[in-house]
């Protein structure tokens, strides 16, 4: 499976404006948002703003970096 992360500004209505569209084999599967300084100790983490299909999850997911986020998305797509 090939991943492509496309940087794009996002209008969350907050200072969280940096995001990545995550494509797997050309399909959009998730939107990750980098948490701004507004989030205190969690600033800099990547938040799963939206997931599609198997990546959709009502629980809150935050990742230390994009590699960790991508590995988690990969596991979800693999059905784990």
């Amino acid at each position: 499976m090939s991943f492509h992360l496309q940087p794009v500004p996002i209008a969350t209505g907050s200072d969280d404006t940096e995001s990545r569209l995550v494509f797997a084999d050309g399909f959009l599967v998730a939107v990750l948002v980098r948490l701004s300084e507004d989030h205190g100790a969690e600033a800099g983490q990547w938040f799963l703003e939206a997931g599609f299909g198997r990546v959709d999850d009502p629980r809150e997911h935050k990742f230390a970096d994009l590699d960790e986020a991508q590995a988690w998305i990969q596991r979800r797509l693999d059905g784990h």
């Binding site: 209505g13 907050s14 969280d16 507004d38 969690e42 809150e60």
Partner: protein, 246 residues
């Protein structure tokens, strides 16, 4: 002979009287209830899911919440409770708890034995009707929360909860001038409304930036009640209070 004033029964009388006017006989019967008062620490379970309880608890001081634990340590909070509430009243007639109840702050709780409550309601149908009405209002609040979680945006849901808590606290004399103590963490707000901590954080900032609220030292000030209540479509009818916020 008049009985000595008792803070715990006073609280129950005030609560029930806010639902329906109590007669002198009813007041005196409540004052005779055999109540055990206990101080509890913050975060202490009062009753657990699957417990078979022999008593109901009346919250005298502090806050509590009803909740259920899900897999992976997730929690759904069903309701917040303030002094005067009897959050586990259902245990009087439903033998097994289907959720848990815990304190959110240090609290003082009065335990009333089921047997005494059953005798009271059997002898005085007016009190039974008042307690029944309280559980119906409880159900109305749950319906409103369902609407909030299913159909309101994160911002509307939080605004609505802030309005609801103000009106409830104001009704029992624990808030005025659109200001109250809110001993609820962001994580607890999220657990109550099905929102991520990230969304709660963003919404609180948005409400502050728009000068609708301020939060400081565990207190909430609603700076613009008209605007905040309009934003979330707050209509206090479902609280069925005799006295309502202006």
């Amino acid at each position: 002979m008049a009985l000595a004033p008792n803070h715990s029964t006073d609280m129950l009388i005030r609560k029930l009287d806010s639902i329906a006017r109590l007669s002198d006989d009813e007041r005196q019967a409540i004052e005779r209830l055999p109540i055990t008062v206990r101080p509890l620490v913050s975060g202490q379970d009062i009753v657990h899911e699957h417990d078979r309880s022999l008593q109901c608890c009346l919250l005298l001081d502090g806050w509590a919440c009803r909740y259920q634990l899900l897999s992976e340590g997730k929690r759904q909070i069903f309701s917040f409770h303030i002094p005067g509430d009897i959050p586990d009243l259902q245990s009087l007639h439903l033998q097994v708890m289907d959720h848990s109840l815990c304190t959110l702050t240090p609290a003082t709780v009065a335990f009333i034995p089921h047997a005494a409550l059953r005798d009271l309601t059997a002898a005085l149908p007016g009190i039974a009707a008042t307690l029944w009405r309280d559980t119906l209002v409880d159900a109305a609040v749950f319906r409103e929360w369902m609407t909030g979680m299913g159909r309101r945006s994160a911002c509307e849901a939080i605004a609505h909860l802030f309005c609801e808590l103000y009106v409830k606290l104001e009704a029992v004399g624990l808030a005025e001038n659109h200001r109250y103590r809110l001993p609820v963490t962001q994580a607890e707000l999220g657990d109550a409304l099905g929102l991520s901590n990230v969304h709660v954080n963003r919404v609180l900032k948005e409400l502050r930036d728009n000068k609708l609220i301020t939060l400081h030292g565990g207190g909430l000030d609603i700076l613009d009640w008209a605007k905040l209540s309009k934003l979330c479509g707050f209509d206090p009818t479902y609280l069925h209070l005799e006295r309502q916020a202006a």
